[in-house]
């Protein structure tokens, strides 16, 4: 018996650093492969096409459907336009994305990792490039070992050239979310685009090229925090890719058991697994799923496709490797039948997540429908708080801010109420034009700052509350907003 403590300090021959084991996944066809194709197509189309969709918002707002306009601090998502003070909508969308991810994870485990994660999608894309240039698994492995002669150099240059093109297209598409896409595309090509655009494209091209082309599963296994977090969201009702060892073991080539029930009768007979290793050869991360659940398994289910094909060939039922929950595993081990996939969707946690997700979405929908496109606020000039005028009146100065959140310029009337004897004028006018109503034109989609002077008789209480009210001058709907303000004057007069 070796005691662990005896081993301390004996590591002189240990290898501290491991070389990456190259992975040459074999092409496979099957239902999950087709699902992967579909998800890849949808995500790539969404990513590349979204910035080019148009949305007519009128003459005074950009007509790009999805636009994160950082320079002007406006977010546009289709009909939704978000101002900086409404950032809670973005927070709401992020919460929905987060809870949505929890929800998906609690039902189908690492579906994000296996199908939708950009690292997976682009790695998959790059692996297809490998097959296109180098051939399938065996050819790739041969070429990797081959000396650097002309044909290898040519193939490698072609492959890396295509990698680079894909990477540039990836980085290039990202910037279109942040500015008008056609304009930016033209200025990008002519060299007039802002430096940050070129820097962004360069960084994203570099990371896509390196992560998608070379690091691949290393990103999932060593760099990504998500697999570590995911475990907390999964339970015994979550679908994971499982090798049904109670059916497959002992593996090997030779005499097979007829059915599962024969296991007890013929313990020396072999299970359904013929040890063909197809599940390992098709795995994009180089995992042997028969070792059990592990961090390298992104549940892309290509091993299921491969195994199903083999099972069909040897005349066994499909699903030796399959999506299954831990509960299913227990029941199948005890002799139960495999459960249909859809059944596992009924899962209390899923409904809890769905409830939170819908509640956030619903709350956002209601507030979006109800939000006002006109606000006013009044900021009192505090230094000095009031000005004594020569005829005994007192003047207070305010900066009135009017937000016109509609995509058209609107003429606004600001009225004064609740201040006896009060009158006001805006900067540029003067006291002889003082009135209780001031009109101003607020441009589309903007915040107008209007310096306003208010006068009132010097006698009255200090700190008298009154209100500014703003109303669009010609309006088709009943809309107004009010801001409370305080009029200061000398004490005791």
């Amino acid at each position: 018996m070796v005691h662990l403590t005896d081993l301390i300090g004996m590591g002189k021959n240990r290898n501290l650093y491991a070389k990456r084991e190259p992975v040459f996944p074999k092409a496979v066809d099957g239902r999950f492969r087709r699902l992967k194709w579909l998800v890849m197509a949808v995500t790539l189309v969404v990513y590349y096409v979204t910035p080019w969709l148009r949305w007519d918002r009128g003459a005074y707002a950009p007509d790009q459907a999805v636009l994160v306009d950082l320079a002007n601090r406006r977010f546009y998502f289709g009909p939704l336009e978000i101002w900086p003070h409404e950032f809670y909508y973005v927070a709401g969308l992020l919460i929905m994305a987060g809870v949505g991810l929890f929800m998906i994870t609690s039902v189908v485990g690492r579906a994000w990792c296996g199908y939708a994660c950009p690292q997976t999608v682009w790695t998959d894309l790059f692996q297809h490039v490998d097959r296109l240039i180098d051939g399938d698994r065996n050819a790739q492995a041969r070429l990797a070992k081959a000396p650097w002669r002309f044909s290898k150099i040519a193939r490698r240059s072609a492959k890396w050239g295509i990698y680079l093109l894909i990477a540039m297209a990836t980085g290039g598409a990202w910037i279109f979310y942040f500015a008008d896409a056609p304009t930016l595309a033209a200025s990008f090509l002519s060299g007039d685009a802002p430096q940050v655009a070129y820097a962004t494209v360069a960084v994203l091209t570099g990371t896509t090229f390196v992560f998608g082309g070379f690091m691949r599963e290393q990103v999932c296994i060593y760099m990504c925090p998500w697999p570590r977090i995911q475990t907390a969201m999964m339970d015994e009702k979550t679908l994971i890719v499982t090798y049904k060892d109670w059916r497959g073991e002992p593996r090997g080539k030779g005499r097979r058991k007829a059915t599962l029930a024969d296991l007890a009768a013929q313990p020396e007979a072999l299970g359904d697994c013929i040890d063909c290793n197809q599940c390992v050869t098709v795995c994009p991360t180089g995992v042997d799923i028969r070792d059990g659940a592990q961090i390298g398994c992104i549940t892309c289910a290509l091993c299921i496709d491969a195994c199903d094909q083999v099972m069909a060939k040897v005349g066994k039922p499909r699903g030796l490797i399959d999506y299954a929950t831990l509960e299913d595993c227990a029941s199948e081990k005890a002799g139960g039948l495999p459960k249909p996939l859809l059944k596992t969707l009924r899962h209390p946690r899923t409904f809890a997540y769905l409830g939170i997700w819908s509640a956030v979405g619903l709350a956002m929908l209601i507030t979006v429908g109800d939000r006002s496109r006109l606000t006013i606020s009044a900021q009192h000039q505090r230094n000095p708080a009031y000005v004594q005028l020569s005829d005994g009146h007192v003047r207070n100065d305010f900066t009135v801010k009017i937000r016109n959140m509609e995509a058209r310029p609107r003429r606004m009337a600001v009225t004064l109420s609740g201040l006896p004897g009060g009158a006001m004028w805006a900067q540029g006018s003067s006291r002889d034009q003082a009135a209780t109503r001031v009109e101003t034109l607020v441009p589309a989609n903007s915040l107008a700052k209007l310096p306003i002077s208010v006068i009132a008789p010097g006698s009255g209480k200090a700190g008298q509350a009154f209100a500014f009210t703003v109303t669009p001058v010609s309006t088709d709907k009943d809309e107004s907003a009010a801001a409370k303000a305080v009029f200061e004057r000398p004490e005791g007069r």
Partner: protein, 304 residues
């Protein structure tokens, strides 16, 4: 025994040999690219110290091959900013001050520049908000001793008030009626009473009626027959609600007996024409600026 490896069955990995409460550590090697990344960051760090100033020497730190310094960067930014502002300052310099308010963009630029100059030069007496203090006029109100149109304000800033040894300064001097024996204390009390009457701070009485005569004899020459003041002499309007030194009896008695002599430095030579112009624009914008040019209406705008 010590050269025997112990292998974890599940992962086929060797143990490190550490154990904490039954938890054992596997000797999972780090990926080699991680090591290379680590070396790359070290190389980057060394390169950084070569390119940028870093190593402390006896006198000063190494300069770095790029010659970069934060001070140099600041100077470049300041120079760029000055270059950016130069056309605007030139335009402000070229426009006669009375035409500034007519050009909204230029006026706004002048106000911003004036605000900065005000903070540096004027807040000590007039306060950060221009509210003034006893003896230092409030620049927000509508009462102007020497005129509140932008040109008069500019003149006051450029030449100052009661500056010794400056020919063009705003100049006037109120006699110290008590100290110099020009009026008897009883007459002074009567005059104070009269002034408080015309400024509607108290009802007319016998003292104020006597004071009216004394006022006509001693004060009307500068403050006007009705006490409305005269901007030629910076003589305040005594009928309004604004008092530079206080409108109560004690303050007024002190004013009449010993006179006041408020002095403001002349800023023209120190700050230059453009800054004085911008200061005038800022003061004018505080809300009490007068539209009309009260006393030099007829004078044609001077071309610089």
């Amino acid at each position: 025994m010590a050269d025997k490896k112990v292998i974890d069955e599940a992962t086929n990995t060797e143990f490190v040999g550490h154990e904490w409460d039954g938890i054992e550590e596997l000797n999972t090697p780090l990926p080699r690219w991680w090591l290379w990344t680590f070396y790359a960051t070290i190389l980057w760090g060394i390169g950084y110290t070569v390119v940028y100033p870093s190593w402390p020497m006896i006198g000063e730190a190494t300069a770095g091959t790029l010659g970069w310094s934060s001070r140099g960067e600041l100077e470049a930014e300041l120079a760029a900013d000055a270059a950016r502002r130069a056309p605007l300052l030139k335009a402000i310099e070229a426009v006669p001050v009375e035409q500034l308010p007519g050009d909204a963009q230029l006026m706004q630029a002048a106000i911003e520049g004036g605000k900065a100059a005000y903070r540096n030069n004027c807040t000590q007496c007039h306060g950060t908000g221009g509210a003034g203090a006893k003896g230092y006029p409030n620049l927000n109100d509508d009462d102007w001793l020497w005129g509140g149109d932008i040109k008069s304000v500019e003149y006051s800033i450029a030449h100052g008030v009661r500056n010794p040894d400056h020919a063009q300064t705003r100049m006037s001097q109120m006699p110290a009626f008590g100290r110099d024996g020009l009026m008897q204390p009883a007459d002074i009390a009567d005059v104070v009473s009269y002034v408080r009457t015309i400024s509607r701070q108290q009802a007319p009485d016998a003292a104020s009626r006597r004071g009216a005569i004394a006022f006509a004899n001693n004060c009307a020459a500068c403050h006007g027959a009705g006490g409305n003041g005269n901007r030629d002499f910076g003589a305040p309007n005594l009928t309004d609600a604004i008092w530079l030194y206080g409108g109560d009896t004690a303050s007024l008695t002190e004013t009449v007996a010993n006179a006041r002599y408020g002095v403001m430095p002349r800023w023209g030579e120190k700050l230059g024409n453009t800054q004085v112009k911008m200061l005038a624009a800022y003061v004018y914008s505080l809300g009490g600026g007068e539209k009309k040019i009260a006393q030099s209406d007829a004078a044609p705008p001077a071309k610089p």
